[in-house]
Symmetry: C2
Subunit: 291 residues, 2 copies
């Protein structure tokens, strides 16, 4: 039986595959964008967006253009993070990183293009959604992905790597670098249905929790996982002295706290009477990666 997660992933992949036909004088740019975009990935962020909207009866094909924008943002961030001046990684999702194939200049530009195209996707008129709510989606993504969100988190990550730091620094990095965009994925899904602001806030709280827990599990996998499972070089965090939860509190305590954070997120949903088999399946998958 195909899981909900697999079904969403398949629809996202189909949408992405048709998005950027590589042709014309800028073919190499589109090739580089597609190289990273079409590599097999979890498609977690678009799937969370689809799952949240579907919880309230919104059809996936209405949500897809907005949902894939989140994957474009995620993909740009991976390409730029892998560059030599940043994390200098050779392997991503089991393949050579973008700049190893296309060179640094084109990889940088492919990242810039994907970030910009994400906003094009978000701003294309979506039938049935009031335009002011679509503008709100643009605002949310810009805030969650920008200096006050993902880029800010990556800045502190780069600054602190190899420089010591504290558990508070790790919490700041994970919240901004990873959790904010995952939170945005759920917040965008929650802007499709006509629901109360209280419900939207509860989903936002849950999204932040899920994002934090996801990154904590990711930290653990870097300690206990294999290159095959990860699709990237394991043990790299410790090697370059990256700030992670296990570095400060160990694997077991990291997993216990991740579970606790998720439970608090669930309480926010419960207090608004939100139950979602879709989100529950995703959450289980995220947490069980570490088993």
């Amino acid at each position: 039986m195909t899981s909900y997660l697999e079904m969403c992933k398949s629809e996202v992949n189909t949408f992405l595959a048709a998005l950027y036909p590589a042709q014309g004088p800028t073919k190499v740019l589109y090739d580089a964008m597609n190289y990273s975009l079409l590599t097999d990935g979890k498609r977690l962020r678009p799937t969370l967006c689809l799952a949240t909207a579907e919880t309230f009866g919104i059809a996936r094909n209405q949500v897809l253009p907005v949902a894939v924008a989140l994957e474009l943002i995620h993909c740009y961030s991976l390409i730029h993070d892998d560059l030599p001046c940043m994390d200098d990684d050779d392997l991503r999702r089991g393949k050579p990183t973008n700049h190893r194939v296309f060179g640094e200049a084109v990889a940088l530009l492919a990242g810039d293009a994907l970030l910009t195209e994400a906003f094009f996707q978000l701003a294309k008129r979506t039938p049935g959604i009031p335009p002011d709510r679509q503008l709100k989606m643009v605002q949310i993504v810009a805030e969650r992905a920008g200096a006050a969100g993902m880029v800010g988190g990556q800045t502190v990550d780069i600054e602190k790597t190899g420089q010591g730091g504290t558990l508070d620094d790790v919490a700041f990095i994970h919240l901004h670098k990873t959790a904010r965009l995952i939170q945005a994925s759920i917040e965008l899904g929650a802007l499709f249905p006509d629901i109360s602001e209280a419900k939207r806030n509860a989903l936002s709280v849950y999204g932040e929790a899920l994002g934090l827990a996801f990154q904590m599990v990711d930290d653990v996998l870097d300690v206990v996982g294999s290159a095959e499972e990860l699709g990237k070089t394991p043990g790299k965090d410790a090697l370059v002295d990256k700030l992670t939860f296990p570095k400060f509190i160990g694997v077991e305590e990291t997993l216990r706290r991740a579970q606790e954070i998720i439970s608090n997120g669930q309480k926010a949903l419960q207090s608004e009477g939100i139950t979602s088999p879709y989100l529950f399946e995703l959450q289980t998958t995220i947490l069980e990666r570490s088993r």
Copy 2:
């Protein structure tokens, strides 16, 4: 007497100076953003946006948040273009380039942040503008700045530099790398007033012409200008064998064609009965830089 251009520049500078207070764990990121953003520049793109809207009676303070978004985009593109993997420039607007001061990683992130924050500015609700028209502004900027616009132009520029190329390649590069964002600046200004689509189209045609002419004059200045006038290293285009108009047709013919392109743009405005002392002052300033 303060010219209109100087007045707009001053208002843009005041707005930009208050935009990103540098504090908190990501202070270095904001410092890097402000370093490039607050360096003295022409502020051509926001001024074109203000001038276009004001032609139809729209007050500058209503347009400013949207207008500065165009400067954020321009500024991000300069930071990324100057990086070692791209044009590898040491001097910009008379000061050391961003990565020379903050390092490559932070410079890259500052560019990413400025691009993202531009969309935040564009999506903040502007009173008196219908939300669907504001969404249209986001679409235009994303299209003009993305793979089909500025980033596409920069890709071909990087690919062709030192590799020969043709006059058609130069035309493609200038149209996409430079003219598209200048065109967008005028297109966004034209979305503030309630005017006909025919008038908006005429302004768009004029904006493309102005953008092309601007870059052609810039090519000429790289041949005939001094470092003091330019705020960057002159003669660099020829040194690295960059594709420019003078390389193929010489300085005089480049200036003649720039004038011809501007005249065609003006005809589009005239056919819609649009006369604007503001845009005329700007256009004159752009063309006379080369005298």
